[in-house]
């Protein structure tokens, strides 16, 4: 199986659609077992381990995050938040079918709302994708927030 540029672009579109529609089980299935979601705190942050990040989550943490959203006593989700991604056509930075490794960078606007509040984040998402059993999976997703050094209120869903 050969991955094309379109396959990679579609993958990113499909992923944000799952997030916007709250199809989290499908979304968790997009990841490799040791896939990591990283959201740096510092602009151009290099060290994700020994400095604070906004998120640095493995599959256990992502599953926890997603399961919590539907819990009976998840007070900050009463009422629930909604989110919305508007994405630019992804840049395909690397297609290496021999190694089964791919890199895609996407600029996007992320909107989250709850009650009377709504906020907008400008994001750059970088997907490291790999081919596992003929399916593309996320090995690593890095999400940089344009104003990462600003003070935020709750960001409750997944940018």
């Amino acid at each position: 199986m050969t991955i094309t540029k379109d396959d990679l672009i579609d993958f990113v579109y499909d992923e944000v659609r799952m997030l916007d529609e709250g199809r989290y089980d499908d979304w968790l299935n997009l990841w490799t077992e040791d896939g990591i979601y990283w959201m740096p705190l510092d602009w151009k942050q290099k060290d994700e381990i020994n400095e604070t990040s906004l998120m640095y989550e493995d599959q256990f943490m992502l599953r926890l995050r997603v399961e919590r959203l539907t819990g009976a006593r998840t007070f900050s989700q009463k009422p629930k938040s909604r989110c919305h991604h508007v994405i630019q056509r992804p840049y395909v930075d690397k297609i290496d079918n021999d190694a089964g490794a791919f890199l895609v960078t996407t600029q996007m606007h992320y909107v989250e709302t709850r009650l009377d509040d709504q906020f907008l984040l400008a994001l750059t998402a970088q997907h490291e994708l790999v081919l596992k059993d003929d399916a593309l999976k996320i090995a690593r997703k890095r999400v940089d927030i344009l104003n990462c050094d600003a003070a935020f209120g709750n960001i409750q869903l997944l940018p």
Binding site: Q45, N50, R65, A151, F152
Partner: protein, 448 residues
């Protein structure tokens, strides 16, 4: 309309076990806090390692006062009001930087030494014979009232006169000592950027929550409880250690007895801590090589003693909390009666293995980030409280748990870990430092 003017007006807002809701909602009370409470007490500014070299500066605020922490040419750290004595322009705007040997105001280029003293004014002859040198503004940038560098942690008192640092903190400094002693070199260095988390609630709600041991198993059931549930569902190999994330989050679900037994200690002037005997930080797995380093530095017995202390949250009145066992400091910066910026800083232990700061960074992002599933529910509680307090149905907030008549908050005490004594202790200190520089009713009447 001015409701709160005198010592007596403020004293009436706090009873031994109740606090009037205006303390959290009134703009007037908030302004008095900025003017009196934050001026009379010792407030955290920053860490030494944020300004390591001469001319390095860091901008922050003490209450609502913009200040600069700067490394002076003599090597010591100064804290100056961030305001040009000419027309008021803020001298430094970026959060950190290096100013070289002097500050230069970007508006008309008055310049100042890094201790604030006036250095030069362009076209100075325009001031000849005007008497500028007789004014306070003519001297340069104003320093705060007093500065103390306690083992790397910089505190300031805005007021010129007032309580000394040692008297203000007293025995409570033992928590700072324990945090710093956990470095084999006895030294901490700031690690990375702080989390900055905006809260639409009064700053004191956050401070109170630091020793609120009856909320974790309730408010955090959705995160910690779900974590425990998922972990149990996953098939674990026999005797497998819990991963660091579980070690961090699972203890939030500990039963009431755990928190009752851990104990609370309070000190005079509003300071206190949870976790006298143990805490949610007690059962973290050992980091290879760390104890050896500590033993080399301190001897085995002292090392054991330092690491055996597992205080949970230590509140330094008025507005910071530290976690000694994981080298975290949270600064609750008031921005308005219903607005608080929370900065969560972490520090690296000099000469200790990196795994320690990695665990601390994990704690910080898991528990205290705007993206944290634990933080989300805390913020939800504070904001609901801020909105609920607008109700005229009741006027008072209750902090009566394990209250005993004639409670003496001016002496150190150790009590059941679920007591709200530390909250009462904070309000006892609140009244003390608020009213210290307020006129009494009689004095005000006589003046009018």
């Amino acid at each position: 309309m001015t409701t709160y003017r005198t010592k007596q007006d403020i004293e009436a807002l706090v009873t031994p076990f109740q606090v009037h809701r205006d303390v959290y909602t009134s703009d007037e009370v908030y302004r008095l806090e900025m003017k009196h409470l934050f001026a009379n007490s010792w407030v955290f500014v920053g860490h030494d390692s944020q300004t390591p070299n001469k001319g390095d500066y860091y901008t922050t605020q003490i209450g609502d006062q913009p200040v600069i922490q700067v490394r002076h040419s003599g090597g010591e750290v100064k804290v100056l009001h961030n305001r040009c004595p000419h027309k008021g322009t803020k001298i430094a705007i970026d959060r950190t930087g290096n100013t070289g040997k002097f500050f230069r105001c970007p508006y008309h280029a008055w310049s100042f030494k890094t201790d604030g003293c006036l250095l030069a004014i362009p076209l100075k002859k325009g001031y000849e014979g005007t008497g500028l040198d007789q004014t306070e503004n003519g001297k340069g940038m104003k320093s705060v009232g007093a500065v103390m560098n306690y083992r790397g942690f910089i505190f300031a008192r805005l007021a010129e006169e007032g309580i000394g640092f040692e008297e203000y903190f007293g025995e409570s400094l033992s928590s700072f000592d324990n945090m710093i002693d956990r470095s084999p070199a006895g030294k901490l260095v700031v690690a990375g950027q702080p989390l900055r988390y905006m809260h639409r609630c009064n700053w004191k709600m956050l401070v109170e929550n630091q020793t609120d041991t009856c909320h974790p198993m309730v408010a955090h059931e959705s995160s910690a409880g779900t974590a425990v549930k998922i972990w149990e569902e996953m098939e674990q190999p026999e005797g497998a250690p819990k991963p660091p994330a579980m070690q961090i989050i699972a203890p939030f679900m500990s039963p009431y007895e755990f928190f009752e037994d851990m104990g609370i200690r309070t000190w005079p002037n509003g300071h206190g801590h949870t976790g006298v005997s143990h805490s949610i930080h007690s059962d973290y797995s050992e980091i290879p090589g760390y104890f050896e380093k500590m033993s080399e530095a301190y001897g085995e017995e002292k090392a054991k003693q330092i690491l055996g202390e597992n205080r949970h949250n230590t509140v330094y009145f008025p507005n910071i909390m530290i976690k000694g066992p994981i080298q975290q400091l949270r600064n609750f910066i008031p921005l308005g009666p219903d607005k608080t910026l929370v900065e969560s800083w972490i520090y690296r232990l000099v000469d200790a293995p990196d795994e320690l700061v990695a665990r601390t960074a994990m704690y910080n992002r898991m528990i205290n980030a705007p993206t944290s599933i634990v933080g989300h529910d805390d913020l939800e509680m504070y904001e609901r409280a801020q909105e609920g307090l607008m109700s005229d149905g009741l006027q008072w907030v209750n902090i009566q748990r394990l209250y005993k008549e004639d409670e003496d908050l001016d002496t150190q005490a150790e009590e059941n870990g679920t007591t709200e004594r530390q909250m009462r202790n904070q309000f006892h200190a609140w009244t003390k430092f608020m009213t210290m520089s307020l006129p009494s009713e009689d004095a005000l009447e006589a003046a009018e």
